[in-house]
Amino acid sequence: MSVNLPPFQALLDAHRTDVYRFLVATAGPSEADDAFQETWIAALRAYPGLRRADNLRAWLFKIAQNKSIDAHRARGRRAVPVAAVPEGASPPASAEGEDPELWARVRELPAKQRTAVFCRTVLGMPYGELALLLESSEDAARRNVHEGLKRLREELTND
C-alpha cells in the first residue's frame, strides 16, 4: 500500500508561518525558534511512514503542540523570577507583535485550550480537524475552545 505524499517542501510552504505563529503564541517568543525546528525535524522524520495524506495539517499541529508542551516544561524547570520591568521603560521591541500581554494569558491556559483557541480562532480550523489534532471528540474540541475563550474574556474584563 502506498499513499501519494506531497513533497515535504509543499507542506512547509503551506504551513510554515502558521506553525511559527502558533509556537510564538503558545510556547513564547524565546522558545519558538527551537520548538519550530524540533517540530519540522520530527515531522520530516515520521513523514515517509504516514499511511494517509489527508489531514496533514492536523498531524503537523499535533507535533507542534507536543513541542510547545515540551518547551513549557523546560521553561517551568528553569523558571527564574524575572526582575521587575523598571517604571516607564517601554517593553522591548516585542517578538510577539503588538499584544504580548494577550499571548502571555493564552500561555497560562491548559495545553489543549491553548491549542484549541489558537487553531480555531486564528486559523479557522473546523472542529472535525481540531478533534483529530487534540485526539478528542468534536464535542470536547468545542468545549476546549469555549472554555479557553471564556477564561480569556473573564481575565480581560476584570482588568
Binding site: N4, L5, P6, P7, F8, Q9, A10, L12, R16, T17, V19, Y20, R21, V24, A25, P29, D33, F36, Q37, W40, I41, L44, R45, Y47, P48, A95, E96, G97, E98, D99, L102, W103, V106, V117, F118, T121, V122, L149, L152, R153, L156, T157
Partner: protein, 199 residues
C-alpha cells in the same frame, strides 16, 4: 463585552512570520533525501535535484512546472523533498561553467539508483558520449547491449531525467536529422551549437 476572538485574530497578524530555516538542520540530521534548487541558464530556469548520492533530476521549468517535477520526485525517490540551494552549489557551478563554454565534462556524481533496466543502460551509454561528438539512436541501443531496440532507446532518451548533464542532445537520428528532444527542439539545437556540432 470584549470580542476576544476578534482581538486574538488581530493580534495574530502582528506575530512574527520570519521562521528559522529547516533544510540545513534536516541535512545535518540525515533527513534531506532530495534537495532541490532553481538554477538559471541560457535555456531558461532549471530545477535541479540531488540525493546524498548524487544528481537525480534536471528539468526545464518552462517545459514542465516545478510542482509537477517535485511531485514526481516525492513519488519516485522520497517524499522528503526540500529546497536546499546550498546542497546544489556544485551542480550550479558546473552548469554555469558548461553554459559559459568553460567546461566540457561534468564531474558531479550522478545517482543512477532510481533508474532501472534498459533505460539505465541507454542513459549510461549516453553519458559516455563525449563533448564534441554525437551518436545515433541505433548507436546508443547497441552501446546499451540491444542493437535492435532502437525505438526503446528513443523512449529511454525521451524520459532522460537529467538532460544537459546526461547529454541526450548528442543523440541524433541515423542520417543526421536531429530527432526529438524533451524540452523542445530549439533547446537541442542550442546545446549542439554550444558544443560546435551545429552551425
Amino acid at each position: 463585552m470584549i470580542d476576544i476572538e476578534q482581538q486574538l485574530r488581530e493580534a495574530a497578524l502582528d506575530l512574527p512570520a520570519d521562521a528559522p530555516p529547516v533544510a540545513e538542520r534536516a541535512d545535518e540530521e540525515g533527513l534531506l533525501d532530495v534537495a532541490y534548487s532553481s538554477v538559471d541558464s541560457p535555456l531558461g530556469p532549471l530545477v535541479v535535484a540531488a540525493t546524498p548520492q548524487g544528481l537525480v533530476r534536471v528539468s526545464y521549468s518552462e517545459f514542465r512546472g516545478e510542482d509537477e517535477v517535485l511531485e514526481e520526485l516525492a513519488r519516485r525517490v522520497s517524499p522528503r523533498v526540500l529546497e536546499a540551494p546550498a546542497r546544489l552549489d556544485g551542480v550550479r557551478r558546473e552548469l554555469d561553467e558548461y553554459f559559459e563554454g568553460r567546461r566540457h565534462d561534468f564531474d558531479i556524481p550522478i545517482d543512477w539508483s532510481y533508474l532501472a533496466g534498459f533505460t539505465r543502460e541507454v542513459l549510461r551509454a549516453t553519458a559516455a558520449i563525449p563533448f564534441g561528438d554525437v551518436s545515433t539512436y541505433a548507436g546508443v541501443a547497441e552501446a546499451a547491449g540491444s542493437p535492435r531496440a532502437v525505438r526503446a532507446a528513443g523512449n529511454a532518451l525521451g524520459a532522460n531525467p537529467m538532460p544537459v548533464v546526461v547529454p541526450c542532445h548528442r543523440v541524433l537520428r541515423t542520417g543526421g536529422k536531429l530527432g526529438g528532444y524533451t524540452g523542445g527542439l530549439e533547446r537541442k539545437e542550442f546545446l549542439l551549437r554550444l558544443e560546435g556540432m551545429l552551425l
